[in-house]
Symmetry: C2
Subunit: 85 residues, 2 copies
DNA sequence: CGTTCTATATATAAAGG
DNA sequence: TCCTTTATATATAGAAC
């Protein structure tokens, strides 16, 4: 979006892809922060990126870990049920 | 945003909060899908909401579970390091 | 490679059904 | 309560540094 509408597909050019990744990651974390604040809920985003040295990025609360634990405890059936595409 | 700028704070009115939650959750999942597609990375969002019957919502791939496993394996120090606020 | 600047695409608050 | 419709706030692609 912005200057030009972009097709929703893999960005081949590496520097463009990297730039888009950085900007969108920032936007995504902001959105997570906002919905968390506005609705007083727990939310987190996990991003695995080949660009960052650190492999996982976590926005949001320490409670995130608790959420993960809860997820781990769910049955496989429930996990599938809660997947959204 | 939209018709009126909204202060970034808890929305007291329940129906408004619920509506905002539903819309923003949808937008958030879309963003996750987009960054995933555009940059060919793995990403997921976890949302704990009192509005949904299901307690956790997961956008994105089956690989998400693998990501969580990797996170579980990280040392406490690394977990803290990867938290972003 | 990372930032900042803007024009434009998107997300979304309110309102209406 | 949920879906549409809009007006407006935000996010962000591309450019320039």
């Amino acid at each position: 979006m912005a200057r030009r509408k972009v097709k929703l597909q893999y960005i081949v050019n590496k520097s463009s892809r990297r730039n888009t990744f950085r900007k969108r990651k920032e936007g995504l974390l902001k959105k997570v922060y906002e919905i968390t604040t506005l609705c007083d809920i727990k939310a987190a985003a996990i991003i695995y990126s080949p660009f960052d040295v650190e492999q996982e990025v976590f926005p949001s609360h320490p409670e995130v870990h608790e959420m993960l634990m809860r997820f781990q405890d769910m049955s496989e059936k429930d996990k599938t049920k809660n997947m959204v595409n």
